[in-house]
Symmetry: C2
Subunit: 138 residues, 2 copies
């Protein structure tokens, strides 16, 4: 554990699933409903700092989240990214994308192309997503 | 194969390694020496469109590339991303990042923070990277 690391502890995140290796959170990002992160519980900066078994496991969790997102929200695309330039602690962004979101087809980190998101995801759909994620079986 | 897809064929890319499932290319991106992509050979949009064995295999290739990049170029961080909003054909960006690159700590798709890259990677280092990638054993 790195005491200065923002991801070594939960920061009031909505943790929807957890095991020894990693946890899944739902991110409150305006215009990006269903945005999830898979966060390694211990402190390591790069995927190749993990054992092969750990890498496989965390990717299986990422792909399980991707599968649930596709089934519950039916987005136009899924974006996966492990960056960690600001917080060098392994975490995967799992981002549902829509043709009607603010940045599409650009990455969400680029300048927005539209002032407003036209993405329509109901509270019921998000609740269904949360329930499905809580029962993740990667 | 999707005849309209830019990644269903090599586009004059520098392919440094290839197997049935996927290939590895070195990307000519100014200011980002060592930028690689791992590209699925057949046409599929999402990782969860692949079999579990195929997902595992392509990730092992991605992590093998990450390992070679770390050993040969010693970057400050590695960024991994599968986006595919423009070209919905599975491809992984494997991007060495440096504190002195144009965008750090932002993603490379954000607005640059510096007009010029101060990254120092010699032609000999890139040749060494190419040689090591050609012998990849994921």
């Amino acid at each position: 554990m790195d005491v200065g690391c923002a991801l070594c502890n939960d920061q009031g995140d909505l943790v929807v699933w957890r095991e020894d290796l990693c946890r899944v959170i739902m991110v409150d990002e305006p215009g990006y409903p269903g945005f999830c992160r898979v966060i390694l519980n211990r402190h390591a900066a790069e995927m190749t700092d993990l054992s092969v078994a750990e890498r496989d496991r965390i990717m299986h969790v990422v792909f399980a989240v991707e599968g649930v997102l596709r089934e519950t929200l039916n987005p136009d695309k899924i974006n996966l990214a492990s960056l960690g330039n600001m917080v060098p602690h392994v975490h995967w962004h799992v981002i549902p994308r829509w043709l009607t979101d603010r940045h599409f087809p650009n990455p969400i980190w680029a300048a927005p192309r539209h002032a407003e998101s036209m993405v329509k995801v109901s509270p019921d759909m998000l609740e269904s997503l949360k329930q499905r994620l809580s029962q993740l079986a990667p």
